[in-house]
């Protein structure tokens, strides 16, 4: 009797907290407009909509679409990987014109949903289905290598020891784009630079990130770039403790250590989402395709706080290089193979 009573209490407590922590689930805001109101929703991955990273950025993009374009927007947060499918189905049932899946983790689920509901439009961030993209789906990729090239160039110019580190989360293509773009940028600034590279094999373990960064600093690096999610927090912490430089990723991470974050390679998920929403409202939907956002359309960039630490002369050079990347004069490698080719062509 006591036992069962307790179990009931515990479970209801748990459920209520889970509900509360989900916060404003599927917050739909109405817009009184006589024209056809478009309705766009997104499913976050497990980071949640306030993760101060790409989920948050995605929601900011949609919020801007609501403000500027009068589109109805809403979101659902996923608490675990198993939530993706139910969340996609919930949004399907609520008559959206377009449903976004945020993050490559959701790739299989979005594809499944897209095949089941051919009349519903879907889009996914950070994933491309290549030739197999269903006609009702858009894949969105970013040229992370372009922003990474720029921060790499800054690092190459700013390093006093001629040694620079890169800490990656895992050995996967999206991290390679950061890594090899960065490597190329560093060598472009100073071909003699020695680059240390190591993977944390984790996007969460801050202690590992910190230990790797400490090792790089011990070996003489004075700037370390991280593309390692939560493990990257450890890298920035190490820079803070040693009073050396770290470079942030995805968003302007300067707030984590204002004195020690040199710059950040930003990925503007918000701009991509806004752009796709705008096109949809104008009647264009590039179904079956993969869209790639780059420096040119504001899909990636370097952080505005870069100017706090980097001298104007280098900033001017960076601006010039940015133009050359946009015009195609400078290419940026996105994989190891491309990097080797790039090195042959550009570094004597």
């Amino acid at each position: 009797m006591k036992k069962s009573f307790f179990v009931v209490v515990m479970i209801s407590l748990m459920l209520s907290f889970m509900l509360i922590s989900c916060g404003k689930k599927a917050e739909v805001e109405k817009k009184e407009d006589s024209v056809k109101a478009y309705k766009i929703s997104l499913v976050t991955d497990v980071g949640g909509v306030n993760d101060q990273s790409f989920n948050q950025s995605a929601w900011e993009g949609l919020s801007r679409a609501k403000k500027d374009l009068g589109i109805d927007v809403s979101y659902i947060e996923s608490k675990q990987d198993a939530d993706y499918m139910p969340n996609l189905e919930t949004l399907y049932d609520s008559n959206n014109d377009l449903i976004w899946g945020i993050g490559f983790k959701m790739a299989d689920r979005v594809l499944e949903a897209a095949k089941q509901n051919p009349e519903q439009k879907y889009a996914i961030i950070d994933y491309s289905y290549g030739d197999k993209t269903p006609a009702n789906t858009i894949g969105v990729l970013f040229k992370e290598q372009e922003a990474s090239f720029l921060v790499g160039y800054i690092a190459g110019k700013m390093s006093k020891t001629g040694k620079i580190g890169f800490v990656g989360g895992m050995d996967v293509p999206v991290i390679h784009r950061f890594q090899y773009g960065f490597d190329a940028g560093v060598l472009f600034a100073n071909p003699k630079t020695k680059i240390f590279e190591q993977y944390a094999e984790s996007f969460t373990n801050a202690a590992t990130g910190k230990a790797i960064a400490n090792q790089m600093y011990k070996n003489g690096a004075d700037i370390v770039f991280q593309a390692a999610g939560g493990a990257g927090d450890g890298v920035i912490e190490a820079a803070k403790e040693k009073n050396l430089w770290a470079i942030g990723v995805d968003r302007d991470q300067s707030d984590l250590a204002p004195k020690n974050v040199l710059t950040s390679a930003m990925k503007r998920v918000d701009n991509a989402i806004y752009d796709v929403s705008k096109k949809l409202k104008n009647g264009n939907f590039d179904g079956g395709k993969t869209l790639t956002y780059s420096l040119k359309d504001g899909g990636v960039d370097i952080a505005p706080t870069t100017k706090n630490h980097v001298p104007q002369s280098i900033l001017d050079e960076v601006a010039k290089i940015k133009e050359q990347i946009i015009s195609g004069k400078i290419t940026t490698p996105s994989s190891k193979a491309e990097f080797i080719e790039w090195k042959k062509a550009n570094i004597k």
């Binding site: 101060q52 190591q198 094999e201 070996n219």
Partner: protein, 312 residues
Amino acid sequence: MLNNLALIIGVTLMYSTPLIFTALGGVISEKSGVVNIGLEGMMVIGAFIAATVGYYSGNPWLAFVSGGLGGAFFGLLHAVASVTFSANQVVSGIAINFLGPGVALFLSRIFFNGATTTRSIDLDNKIPRLLHGIFPNDSFLYYVFDNQYATSYIAFILVFIIWYLLKKTVFGLRLKSVGEHPAAADTLGINVFRIRYFAVISSGFLAGLGGATLSISVVSNFRPTLVSGQGFIALAAMIFGKWKPIETMFACLLFGLAQGLVIFVGQFDFHISSQLLNMLPYILTLIVLVIFVGKSVAPAADGIPYEKEQKH
């Protein structure tokens, strides 16, 4: 070469400190006969509260202790469930593991404008690094101790305090007797409930300190993925250490050492995939477990709720 060794030792200490706090919590609780798989959830809440109090008060010690108290509160919940109401201790522990992150996220959104990541704490307001700047740059001791936060030393001191408590004091003996044969202890006039309450709440306190170590020593902010499984590693270390404080400490150090080795070996351009390399801590654990440790036996009444009217 010597400096590389020093760096590995440094990583070992940093990595094992949160595990030691938490695993010690596990030892105390299970010695009294209450299984505590809620360590993970208690770590999460401890990490969150420490980061929040640290950010707003600027006092690292207040933050550290608050983190512990947060864990202790969850320990209290676990105790109410598993001691007073004789609930299944595993179920209650799992509930704590859900509740911890849930409450942390909920509060984080209130205190940090909807953000699930807390604001970063300045280096000056973190736990002090006791031996920072004492040793000359590039010396062996510099790489071992310069970057160690006071929490690392506290963890080792606690190991001996708890060892002493369990081994040399009347109270420790009572605690163990409650974990081995609560009915016998009861007939001798020992208050089983009170001792188990004490053990489970202190277990939560220690796990909270472990979490706090992560958020205000290892890094300087809390994010929902910060703990990600370390509570379970601590639980494994406790079993590995045969439910004894000193052995458990060595188990934690072994995990830390394996991590240090992975990071050290990972810097060389071997043709081993880094995924394989990262299995090293677990493979090492298996090997040590099979060859050196032998049978690990839990306290006899571990996991069994004690009910007075129960007939034996």
